[in-house]
């Protein structure tokens, strides 16, 4: 009887030890987890700034003009995005016509830094880096003195519309030969 009890104890001890020693092989398992990876597309952003000679913002509601008067209006464009870009602008009236510059207004266009493309656009001569602003497009607007178009109570708009396209992977010897300009509806207007 006593011998049996001793045998049981011995067997129990070895069973416990054996089970503990083999524990690792029972714990193996498989597990999985998901990584959600993200690709985002960049963009090109520019903003037009209009200032007066006193470095104040040009009035949003416009200014009163008289025939022959000169209005201070300094126009620059800033690259507010994170990629460099080529830039061009269009100057027109509220109907999208560019001949307002002949009939009503004349401007002192900066032909050193901007190029008249002859296609209705003025092209900035160099790549505009992120955070940088262009040299001024023009700094003053002169109202025609004897134009028949300038009548009392008339309202004129002089819109500057900017178009930008990425310069990365868009090699060009001149801004005039750059490809991929955006359509007229995707634009920055002032």
């Amino acid at each position: 009887m006593k011998n049996n009890r001793i045998k049981i104890v011995i067997i129990s001890v070895f069973a416990v030890a054996a089970s503990l020693m083999t524990q690792p092989s029972l714990a193996f398992y498989s597990t999985s987890s998901i990584a959600t990876n993200v690709v985002t597309a960049g963009d090109i952003n520019v903003k037009i700034f209009e200032k007066t000679s006193g470095n104040k913002d040009f009035p949003q509601d416009g200014v009163y003009i008289m025939p022959g008067s000169i209005v201070s209006k300094i126009v620059t464009v800033k690259n507010t995005g994170s990629h460099p870009c080529w830039l061009r602008v269009k100057i027109s009236d509220q109907n999208g016509r560019s001949d307002i510059l002949q009939d009503v207004f004349s401007i002192d266009l900066n032909y050193i830094d901007w190029i008249d493309g002859g296609d209705g656009y003025y092209y900035y001569s160099q790549i505009l880096r992120p955070g940088r602003s262009t040299e001024k497009l023009f700094s003053q607007v002169k109202v025609a003195g004897n134009s028949a178009a300038v009548k009392p109570e008339s309202v004129f708009e002089l819109n500057v519309i900017a178009f930008a396209v990425q310069s990365e992977h868009n090699d060009a010897v001149s801004p005039l030969s750059v490809a991929g300009w955006p359509a007229e509806e995707s634009r920055e207007t002032a």
Partner: protein
């Protein structure tokens, strides 16, 4: 003396900042082995498990590379088989965007696992074994992304989500396996010490029982 200290501190800071930048550059999948825990680094504002830090703000014409390292940080008792598969684009918007981009996934110094538009599953549709890793082991993946120069303007600022699933199977270390490096995980203390204590305790109880039985037998005979 102060100057020297300042210079030394500056150099240490510069090195540590540079070091951190280098560390943060790639994607990392870390299997800790602790209750099957995975860590995905570095994550992003879009997803905490994002492995593509270098695929942000992609532009038409870009050809980008993203290195991803998969680590086994489980302890020495096991080796792990690590698999991955692509679950594809998460939603329709992601699919529309990612289908414009071309992606490859290559196990470095090995075969190409994936070569298709980014929304597809291609060679990663089924579980693909990346490798059998011992503790401290790793496998390197290289992901390339080509953005066509003709990508339409409408995709500006788009976001594409792509799910990858990782699976680990833990296996027992065999005698024929190379000896894994010591990871400092304290295997001896955490496993063998309790086993030995239990065994020693059991033997002590056994000896005491035998002694008591002998004493009883002696007393009985007297």
């Amino acid at each position: 003396m102060k100057k020297i200290i300042n210079i030394v501190v500056s150099v240490i800071l510069a090195v540590s900042v540079t070091g951190f930048h280098a560390y943060a550059a790639g994607g990392k999948v870390i299997y800790s082995g602790n209750c099957g825990k995975y860590f995905f680094r570095p994550g992003s504002a879009y997803s905490l498990t994002d492995l593509f830090p270098d695929f942000k703000g992609v532009m038409p014409g870009d050809s980008l590379t993203q290195d991803i390292t998969v680590f086994n940080r489980a302890d020495n008792r096991v080796k792990v088989k690590i698999f991955m598969r692509s679950l594809g684009a998460v939603d329709e918007m992601s699919k529309k965007f990612l289908s414009q981009l071309h992606m490859t996934v290559t196990k470095l110094s090995d075969t190409k696992l994936f070569d298709a538009t980014a929304d597809e599953k291609d060679g990663l549709e089924e579980w693909t074994l990346l490798g059998t890793l011992y503790s401290g082991g790793k496998v390197d993946l290289r992901v390339t992304l080509d953005v066509p120069v003709t990508l339409d303007n409408e995709f500006q600022k788009w976001v594409g989500l792509l799910d990858w699933e990782f699976k680990v199977e833990e296996l027992e270390i065999e005698k024929t396996d190379p000896k894994p490096p010591y990871t400092g995980s304290g295997n001896i203390l955490t496993f063998w010490l309790p086993v030995c204590s239990m065994f020693a305790g059991s033997v002590a109880v056994f000896v005491i029982l035998v002694k008591k039985n002998k004493e009883k037998a002696v007393n009985g005979s007297v």
